[in-house]
Amino acid sequence: MKKIVALFLTVCLVLSLSTMLSGCGYEYKELNLKGNYDVPHLKGTTLNFYNWGEYMSDGSEGSMNVVKEFEKLTGIKVNNSYFDSNETMYAQIKGEGVAYDLIIPSDYMIERLKNEDLLQPLDYSKITNYDLIDSKYKDLFFDPENKFSVPYNVGMVGLIYNSTMVDERPDSWNIMWDKKYEGNILTFNNPRDAFSLAQIVLGQDLNTKTKEDWDATANKLIEQKPLIQSYVMDEVFNKMEMGEAAIAPYYAGDFLTMKENNPDLEFVYPKEGVNIFVDSMCIPKNAQNVEAANLFINFLLEPDVALSNAEYICYASPNTSVINNENYSLKDEKILYPDEEDMPITQYFHDMDSQTRAYYDELWQKVKLH
């Protein structure tokens, strides 16, 4: 018995030692901040932040822990929660069971939340860094007056493939229907993204409202189902890095993260075109700590913070201080910032009327249950 206790104590000791060691190695870099974060009255309050997974520099591998820096700076405690699709996020916001202070939905979802009166206007007196946003990403269709949203990242969907498993460099989404890769294809586990690939292959508008179009895409996905290994969202990281699957459509920035762990992975924007998206920061109507949320938006726009995030997440940044920064390592990454002549054909998602939405939701379940 004594032996076991001794063993346990030793393990604890070793653990605490190693923690101390890594603690010593932590380099605290003084942040250069433009905004004012002197908010003693917010000290001790909490901010419920609802974000995509893997979507903020978190301190791993020597990166900046953005949330921790903000907490240290302001004394506000940040609760992180994560979602893996716009639809999941929407269900939580709409369900009204929980209140989040800050969310990062994509364009079409912002349009929907706005139309359903679930967002509140931002307080630009707090968001003094807004002028750093590239004018390209202001006044967009989902928020023409920039009242409700500040862009966080922009990106496009592309095709990721494992060059040891795919012989030729693919140039078309049709490879997702190629029987040769049966059981080696991953696809999106959310209706809008999954349908969009079939829509592009069928030459449809991504925002079609005709039932026949949706029926055709659903059939196309049912046809694809036997070839699919699994429906994934962020599970795609592990699967592609491990070499579990040959082909996966996913967001361009995430490919760069995956490639760091598996150099065999390659990326292409298929010729038929791709979905382009803007993920923006918004404050829900029922937010409880609105001032802290506005402050955090401003903090995320800070050149130092935005740069750390851009380096860590690997998505294209809408922040001019990042794009024009000499030290930004992804500055010339053509996947994120393609030259004009290489720019793929792109389409945005728009929000749909509730009937169309209900219709494609039903079709999506049909596909999943088939």
Partner: protein, 267 residues
């Protein structure tokens, strides 16, 4: 026959422990993969102890388990004593059927039904947020209660009913008689119920998943979010530590029990 049966038992144990062995081995992985072993390292344990999210989830899980099991034990024990005194058979069977529901019902239905109630109340009171610590605590107490009642009930039935009466005759107030006479007689049932409630609460994912909010994340909820993102071995490190502590606890428990058994044999 004997070797064959031993072999069979060994095989099943291997089946039960293989995934746990995988988990422990990969928690020491030097790389961030959960499938390729790249050498021994303690880095995931170190990262674990630095992660505030993990530590606060650990704390929350324990707070929730302790509070919910203590409240359920008190409420459940008192209820069991009362239920035993029901004169009408149908009231007794009605209350017992209601008690059985959370045990029989699949977790997902219990979770969903409570969520609907909480959200409804929240909207009714026009609260900004309805799901959080309070709701998940209520949910845990609710699903813990039947286990407490059903462990206390048999002990109460076995008890000699004349004892509290005798105590009352000797001048005890009913309240005092309960603590002096009834409680010691049913304590083993109470302890069993409490331990059951505590472990159920500690391990619950599904019901918490539907009834908690962003302010109050428990360990199972955190693990769920972790497996939805890109998975790194820190999750395995966390589980290995939990496994180790459970193992130590169980061994301590068994040792102390066998000691007290020996002592009672001597007496």
């Amino acid at each position: 026959m004997k070797t064959l049966s031993r072999l069979y038992i060994a095989l099943i144990l291997i089946f039960l422990y293989a995934p746990l062995a995988v988990m422990v081995i990969f928690s020491f992985n030097a790389s961030n993969s959960t499938s390729l072993f790249a050498g021994f390292s303690l880095r995931w344990y170190a990262e674990l102890f630095e992660s505030e999210a993990t530590l606060s989830a650990l704390k929350n899980t324990f707070i929730l388990a302790v509070l919910s099991s203590v409240i359920a034990t008190v409420l459940g024990t008192v209820a069991a004593v009362g239920i035993l005194g029901y004169k009408r058979k149908w009231t007794k069977s009605a209350v017992m059927s209601a008690t059985n529901i959370p045990m029989m019902n699949p977790d997902i239905v219990t979770g969903v039904s409570m969520m609907l109630l909480f959200v409804f109340i929240g909207k009714f009171l026009s609260l900004k947020t309805s799901l959080g610590f309070t709701t998940v605590l209520i949910a845990h107490i609710t699903f813990n209660l039947p286990y407490v009642i059903l462990s206390v009930m048999p002990k109460l039935r076995q008890m000699d009913f004349h004892l509290p009466e005798a105590a009352a005759d000797l001048g005890c107030t009913p309240f005092k008689a309960f603590f002096k006479v009834v409680l010691p007689n049913i304590s083993s049932g109470i302890v069993t119920g409490f331990i059951m409630a505590f472990t159920l609460s500690l391990d619950d994912f599904v019901i918490s998943y539907f009834t908690t909010g962003p302010d109050f994340q428990t360990l199972p909820i955190l693990i769920y979010t972790m497996t939805k993102k890109r998975v790194t071995p820190d999750m395995y490190a966390l589980s290995s530590l939990i496994f180790l502590s459970v193992l130590v606890l169980l061994i301590l428990f068994n040792v102390s029990q066998s000691k007290s058994n020996k002592r009672s044999h001597k007496n």
